[in-house]
């Protein structure tokens, strides 16, 4: 489902003496449907960078990132947009929404974007919000005013609204209480069961052990500090 080969990435800081910072070299990775991979490695080793590259959020210098037949490293913007709409989900640590949009709409949006019937989309959103213990009185409000934990759960509900065949999870269980952590892990297990290929970053080792089939240490992709 997701196949990464020879992937390299540099940052060039034009406004700081054009400093070139290599951050990734010859990354290889492959995830099959129904498989969950955990990225591990010390802080700054490039876990998030790799996730962002897979999502098309960061550009790649060379190599390929094939998700469901689309090479994100070379695809046109509209191809990536379509991939994100239909195939590739991403649950980041931060919720970014238009102010004023009610929580229920925020969660239902990925479904509405792929043309799901409005009632069905809202029903799915309600279901997820309820499972993630967001009080119903908050559903009509914009999540911008919510607490950090609530925002994160709204973000997870949004990420799981559409049954993406491939998913990227950036610390989905961080700072959640035991009950909600359990809900999120169940959601991940359900996604795996329906055949989703998942790449995740989990600092929570118990969670990692429970849902992940393999671990990939990104330190192996870090360029030698020789430069």
């Amino acid at each position: 489902m997701i196949k990464i080969e020879n992937l390299c990435k540099n940052f060039v800081l034009h406004n700081q003496g054009s400093a070139v910072i290599p951050v990734m070299e010859n990354a290889h990775l492959s995830v099959a449907p129904g498989e969950c991979i955990a990225l591990i490695g010390a802080s700054g080793a490039g876990k998030s960078t790799l996730m962002r590259m897979i999502y098309g959020n960061y550009l790649s210098q060379s190599g390929s990132i094939v998700v469901d037949g689309v090479d994100v490293a070379t695809a046109e913007p509209r191809e990536i947009l379509q991939l994100r709409r239909d195939t590739l989900g991403y649950v980041s640590q931060f919720l970014r929404v238009v102010p004023r949009v009610p929580t229920l709409e925020v969660v239902a949006e990925p479904l509405l974007n792929i043309g799901t019937d409005r009632d069905a989309a809202l029903a799915r959103a309600r279901d997820l919000l309820a499972r993630l213990n967001i009080p119903e009185r908050l559903w009509a409000l914009s999540p911008t005013t919510f607490s950090g934990g609530e925002q994160q759960r709204v973000n997870i509900a949004r990420g799981f609204a559409h049954s993406f065949p491939a998913m990227l999870l950036d610390e989905p269980t961080a700072s959640l209480d035991a009950t909600n952590r359990e809900v999120v892990l169940t959601l991940i297990e359900e996604a795996k069961a329906r055949g989703a290929a998942i790449i995740g970053i989990f600092h929570d080792e118990a969670a990692r052990a429970r849902v992940c089939d393999r671990e990939v240490d990104v330190t192996g992709f870090t360029p030698a500090k020789a430069a």
């Binding site: 913007p77 970014r96 238009v98 004023r100």
Partner: protein, 256 residues
């Protein structure tokens, strides 16, 4: 898929000075593209060339017309271009008073495009005007008020209703949220996003506000001194800018 708009090597010069040059891109149905850059970077010149308000000195702008498919709007006859301007195209000006008839009621402003394409039933025109005012969150009892009695945000929403009433496929926006309070901006952005999705609109938005493009635009084009210096997915350009100017632009935004 046929692009809705295909821009090829557009250039516009003001004497020796470059307005914009070497601009090419494709815009597909349903896509929203942002054009950012500082004042004088040529983004408004480009928008006006694309929308037929300015004649470019070189290049082509193909639009996927309903009747004849892709057609160069630069060389098409003026009546044809003006017809596009009041049917398939819409233009939202930065200053509502440039896009509205200030001496005409809100209903008349919205109804004008309908009457321009032949609507001759007062009751129907008015009903549609009221419906559109409602969609842009202007209450029905303001339908006979003139825009001069509206707040800046309302004027801007009225301008949007007036433009969208004929169901255009491509909307040009020139700093649509410029000069509005932050809270009013948010409401307008939310509204625009909803309309873009409901109507399947394509849009080209010129702005210098990076927050606006992050929320509204799928793709981004960064301009400097009349040239396009970087293009790509909006979040990619903003989060991993490649060109020195874009890096400067992104790092210059004040954090709230």
């Amino acid at each position: 898929m046929t692009p809705l708009l295909q821009v090829k090597d557009i250039a516009k010069f003001y004497g020796n000075r470059i307005g914009c040059t070497d601009v090419s891109f494709d815009l597909y149905p349903g896509e929203v593209m942002g054009i950012v850059g500082e004042s004088g970077s040529g983004k408004s010149t480009l928008l006006n060339c694309l929308a037929g308000h300015l004649a470019p000195d070189a290049g082509q702008v193909f639009f996927d017309t309903r009747e004849a498919g892709l057609k160069d709007t630069v060389t098409m006859s003026e009546p044809e271009r003006r017809m596009l301007g009041r049917t398939d195209w819409a233009f939202v000006h930065q200053h509502a008073r440039d896009g509205l008839r200030m001496g005409v009621s809100a209903g008349g402003n919205v109804g004008e495009r309908l009457m321009a394409v032949g609507a001759r039933h007062y009751g129907d025109i008015r009903a549609q005007a009221v419906d559109w005012l409602d969609r842009v969150e202007i209450s029905e009892d303001r339908v006979d008020d003139r825009p001069s009695a509206f707040s800046g945000g309302m004027q801007q929403r009225l301008q949007i209703a007036r433009n969208l009433v004929t169901g255009p496929r491509l909307v040009f926006m020139d700093e649509p949220t410029g000069g509005l309070d932050v809270s009013v901006q948010a409401r307008l952005l939310d509204l625009l996003r909803g309309l873009v999705r409901q109507m399947g609109l394509s849009a080209i938005i010129v702005t210098h506000d990076l927050a606006v493009v992050r929320l509204l635009a799928d793709r981004l084009m960064v301009m400097k001194d009349g040239n396009v210096v970087e293009t790509g997915l909006t979040d990619q350009v903003l989060d991993d800018p490649q060109h020195g100017y874009t890096q400067l632009l992104v790092s210059s935004v004040l954090q709230v």
